[in-house]
Every structure is written in structure tokens, then in C-alpha cells.
């Protein structure tokens, strides 16, 4: 009798759990669905009152129009180059520094690590004007290098990978030294390969945030051919004020590369970001 009511109440609880999860999921997905549906409608149909849910006639021309109004090939190339170089810099420099801070003894270690920690606490906007002025002084605004510039080193990456190296027992490094590895070999051949998960997490973290960044690319490159997907999209908004089908098509173009990566590496994305954020 007692177990009966318990299992019934558990059944109700499970039912409610699914109910809320599904309702929430629908709310999360709906904007994306609406984006796709709108991108397939004609301008006239998109402003019909009352609105249609599914396009009465599927129109592909919005995608063509988005492609001709923005140089998407350049935007993709610029975004990919910016993300790739930032990721490589973050991994290479942060691995080196993270290893040194975690495993080596040297004069000035605490002060220098303090510089890393303090930088992490400051919002990036405080650097924007002088960073822009530095580039302007040497004539490097309006370039792909300008997009990469603020991401050449990563204080967060250094901190994060230092944590990873701290987790590796000292004995492993000592054993490598006894086997005749020098400092550099101990780092590259023995220690670095042990931080794979953290490096993957840092890669994803760096890529997602570089890709989402809007203020810096908007400020530093005003030439449409040198913009990123984000800043290019902001420009498209100005051109097609109210032509939402074209804007939705453009937004889809801008979202697709990261979405595809997300679908493939879904678990790594989520766990990577949980790992970087939780620290």
C-alpha cells in the first residue's frame, strides 16, 4: 500500500520533470526554428497578418540576396583565421607559461603570476581604446592581424593550464629527467601530452569567445571585406532594416560553422566550457 503511493508520486514527479524539460527545450529551440522558417518566406509573406507558421511557398532567394549583400567568403575566411590563430597562440604560449608556473622554480615567479591573475579580473573593455590606438599608430587597423591582436596571449589560458600541470604528480617529470630528457623534452614529450583534455577545453573556450566577440572587430576593421561574421552581420542589419527574411538567411550563414562543430563535438563543447567556467 505504502510502496504503491510512493511509486505513484515518483511517477508524477518523473512526468513533471519531462514536462518541464520538454517545454523548456521548445522555448530554447523555437527562435532557431523561427529563423529557418522566416528565411524561407517571401518578404510579403513574412509581414502577413496573421502570420503563417510554415512558408506557403518556399523561397530560396533570401539566401542569394544575403550572399550578394555581404562578402561571406571573406567573412568566413577572416573569422576562421582569427579563431585559429588565437587558439594556436593561446595553446602554445599558455602551455609553456602554465608549465613553468606549475613545475619550475625561478626568481620572480610570484610577481609574474600575479600579473596573470590581475589581468584575468579586468574587463577587456579597459584595454580597447589604447589597443586600438597602438594599432592605428603603426597603421595596422583594417587588417586581419588587427582581429587577432588582443588574443595573442591569454592570461586565462595560462591560469587554466597551470591548474592542469599542478594536477600532474612531480614524480612523472622527475622520472623523465632521470631517463635523460632535458627540460624542454620533459615538457613537450612527457608533460604536454598529459594535458590533452584541458587543452581541448581551452581550444573550445577560446574559439567560442573569439567567434562571439563583437566590439573589437567592429571598432578595428570598418572595411566590410575585413570583418568577422559577427561584425558583418551587424552591418547587414543596417542595410536591410526590416527585410527580415534576408536578415534571417544571413544570420543562419553566420551561425552555421559553429553549429556544425557543436553538433559533432557536442560533449566536448559542453564539458570543455563547464571545465573552464567552473574554475
Amino acid at each position: 500500500m505504502k510502496t504503491g503511493t510512493m511509486s505513484r508520486s515518483r511517477g508524477v514527479a518523473t512526468g513533471l520533470t519531462y514536462f518541464f524539460l520538454i517545454v523548456g527545450s521548445l522555448l530554447m529551440i523555437f527562435p532557431f526554428v523561427w529563423m529557418i522558417l522566416t528565411s524561407l518566406k517571401s518578404l510579403a509573406e513574412s509581414v502577413q497578418v496573421p502570420p503563417t507558421i510554415f512558408p506557403a511557398k518556399i523561397v530560396w532567394s533570401n539566401f542569394g540576396e544575403a550572399l550578394t549583400s555581404l562578402p561571406f567568403v571573406n567573412l568566413y575566411a577572416n573569422t576562421i583565421i582569427m579563431v585559429l590563430v588565437r587558439v594556436i597562440c593561446a595553446i602554445v604560449f599558455s602551455s609553456m607559461a602554465g608549465y613553468a608556473f606549475a613545475k619550475l622554480n625561478f626568481k620572480g615567479k610570484n610577481v609574474l603570476f600575479g600579473l596573470v591573475l590581475v589581468q584575468m579580473m579586468m574587463p577587456s573593455q579597459i584595454f580597447v581604446i589604447p589597443q586600438y590606438q597602438m594599432l592605428a599608430k603603426v597603421g595596422l587597423t583594417e587588417s586581419i592581424f588587427a582581429l587577432i591582436f588582443p588574443g595573442l596571449v591569454s592570461a586565462f589560458g595560462t591560469f587554466f593550464l597551470r591548474q592542469a600541470y599542478m594536477g600532474i604528480p612531480n614524480e612523472i617529470g622527475e622520472a623523465a629527467r632521470l631517463d635523460g630528457c632535458n627540460q624542454w623534452q620533459t615538457f613537450t614529450k612527457v608533460m604536454l601530452p598529459l594535458t590533452g583534455n584541458s587543452v581541448a577545453a581551452l581550444t573550445i573556450f577560446t574559439a567560442v569567445f573569439a567567434y562571439a566577440d563583437l566590439m573589437w572587430p567592429l571598432v578595428v576593421n570598418t572595411d566590410i571585406n575585413l570583418m568577422t561574421l559577427s561584425s558583418g552581420l551587424a552591418t547587414l542589419k543596417g542595410q536591410f532594416m526590416t527585410n527580415y527574411p534576408v536578415l534571417m538567411a544571413g544570420s543562419l550563414f553566420a551561425m552555421i560553422p559553429m553549429l556544425i562543430l557543436y553538433l559533432i563535438f557536442q560533449r566536448q563543447f559542453i564539458e570543455g566550457i563547464a571545465l573552464t567556467g567552473g574554475k
Binding site: 604560449f93 596573470v116 584595454f127 589604447p130 590606438q133 591569454s154 563583437l214 527580415y244
Partner: protein, 295 residues
């Protein structure tokens, strides 16, 4: 009387310096030099093309006398009030639901996390369309005729809704990892004692997850105080409600890169840092009352 380093220790030190050099030089050039520059700029009057002259605290005086600046400060705080508590509570709810024994758990998690991998620029675009006063689907569904993005009362609410929608999945994933660390044995013991689910939540879940909750709260507050991209994409600079929505960082962007007042803009940034500092200190003092570290 310093002890001389052994040759091996000296070699180690040289390697270490070499390995931290790129990062440290980069931080000095990219962050610490600009930090000092921003500070100096905030006491300077900038003319066209780089030249600037010292003008004392005039930027700050001008700033503190500007109603637009105070409005932007209030908008930023209001944005935090509207987004952070609701966002965190919803994220905690999602995390708790995901922590239950459900099928397709990773599928649900992936769906809630989706906005995180989409550029805010693209996300804002579809929400602008859904919030559109004349043809937007939100008015159709609600049966209302609200000009969401062009009414000074609703514009910031609309922006807050988008911000909450965007951050729930990320915060939920963080909180979920906290929930998964709670040992099942606590709940078993509570069940034997006959504690109700609500009681279990308040006496086990909440205290045990409070450190994670605190980290999530700090991160969310920091990023809300710096909000820019979403409002920039939702509310155009020509939109008449801009003064009622624009955040400090939006005002900063317009002053620095549209109006060209880099000195004045620097003062705004310094003020924002100050604000973030105060909020963080309050959080760290307040945490003693509710965050439970002795686990």
C-alpha cells in the same frame, strides 16, 4: 648572504624565464600598458587623431553631471536586477531537472546549451524579429500589440529576456556539475529520516551547491555589468528609446568610437571597473552568510 644556485637550478630558471616570456611580454604590451593608458586618458582631453592634453578631472566632472551617464548606470544596474536572479533560478531549476534520472539527458543538455555557441549578433537578430511590434510572433502568440523594442518601458525587458534565454544553458551546465558532486548518501540518509523533497532541497542541495552557485552568480553579474553586444544588436543607435536602454559599455562604445571622445569614454570605463569592484566586494562579504565551504 644569498645561496648561489646550483648549475642545474640556474638552468631550470633560464628555461622558466624563456617559457613565460611570450605570455608576460604579451600581457605587458597588450594589457598593462593599455591599462595605464586608459587611466591617463581619463584625465585627458582628446582631439582628433590621437593628440591629447591633460585636463585634470574635467572628464569625471562632465561625466557626473551628465544625466545620460547616470541613466546608463541605472540601465546597467536594472539590467542586472532583471536578468541575474531570474536567470540563476531558472538555470538551477534546469540543472535539477537534468540531474534527475531522465532519458535523453545529453540531448536536453545540448539543446539548453545551444545559444552559447551562437554569436550574440545572430541571436539578437532573430529576437528583434520576434519582438517586432507589428509583425512579431511574440505579440501574435500573446495577443498583444506591444511595441517591445520602441517603447521605453519594454525595451530593456525585451533585452533582459534575450539575455536570460542566452545564459540559462551555460549556467545550468555549471550548476549541474556542482549537483553531480553531491554524494547520493546524503539523500539516502534524509529519506530514511523521512525528510520531504522540499526539505531535502533546502537542507542538502542548496547548502551543498552554494559554492558553485556563488561562482555562477559572480560570473553572471560581471558579464551583465559589462553587457554591450546584445543591446547593441537589439537597439539601434537611431532608436529613440536608446537612452532608456543603453548600458555603460554601449555608452562607452558610442563615446569612444562614434563621437571620438576617447578621454571621456575612458572615464566611463574606469567608472564601470569601479562599479564591478564594488559589486564584487559586496558579493564576497555577503557570501559568508550563505555560502557553505565546510564539506
Amino acid at each position: 648572504m644569498r645561496k648561489a644556485l646550483s648549475p642545474a637550478a640556474r638552468k631550470e630558471q633560464h628555461w622558466a624565464w624563456l617559457m613565460v616570456a611570450p605570455t608576460i611580454i604579451g600581457l605587458l604590451v597588450l594589457n598593462y600598458y593599455p591599462l595605464i593608458q586608459t587611466f591617463i586618458l581619463s584625465f585627458s582631453k582628446t582631439k582628433t587623431f590621437g593628440a591629447s592634453t591633460f585636463n585634470g578631472i574635467n572628464n569625471y566632472i562632465e561625466m557626473f553631471q551628465s544625466p545620460e551617464f547616470w541613466k546608463a548606470t541605472w540601465n546597467t544596474i536594472l539590467f542586472c536586477i532583471l536578468t541575474v536572479p531570474v536567470g540563476i533560478i531558472l538555470a538551477l531549476l534546469v540543472a535539477i531537472l537534468l540531474n534527475a534520472k531522465v532519458k535523453f539527458k545529453s540531448g536536453f543538455r545540448a539543446i539548453y546549451f545551444l545559444p552559447m555557441v551562437c554569436a550574440p549578433a545572430a541571436i539578437a537578430m532573430v529576437w528583434r524579429w520576434m519582438f517586432n511590434g507589428e509583425y512579431g510572433i511574440i505579440n501574435t502568440v500573446l495577443g498583444t500589440k506591444i511595441s517591445w523594442l520602441t517603447d521605453s518601458k519594454t525595451a530593456i525587458v525585451a533585452c533582459a529576456i534575450v539575455a536570460i534565454w542566452s545564459s540559462i544553458g551555460y549556467d545550468a551546465v555549471l550548476l549541474l556539475s556542482g549537483l553531480q558532486n553531491i554524494s547520493k548518501s546524503y539523500y539516502e540518509a534524509a529519506r530514511i529520516d523521512g525528510a520531504s523533497r522540499v526539505k531535502q532541497f533546502f537542507s542538502i542541495t542548496l547548502p551543498m551547491i552554494s559554492p558553485t552557485l556563488f561562482v555562477t552568480l559572480i560570473m553572471r553579474l560581471m558579464s551583465s555589468l559589462k553587457v554591450y553586444d546584445l543591446i547593441y544588436m537589439m537597439i539601434d543607435q537611431s532608436n529613440p528609446v536608446l537612452p532608456d536602454v543603453q548600458s555603460l559599455m554601449y555608452l562607452f562604445y558610442r563615446e569612444a568610437f562614434v563621437a571620438g571622445n576617447k578621454g571621456y569614454a575612458s572615464a566611463i570605463v574606469i567608472w564601470t571597473i569601479f562599479l564591478i569592484g564594488i559589486v564584487t566586494v559586496i558579493q564576497f562579504i555577503g557570501q559568508k552568510k550563505w555560502v557553505n565551504y565546510d564539506v
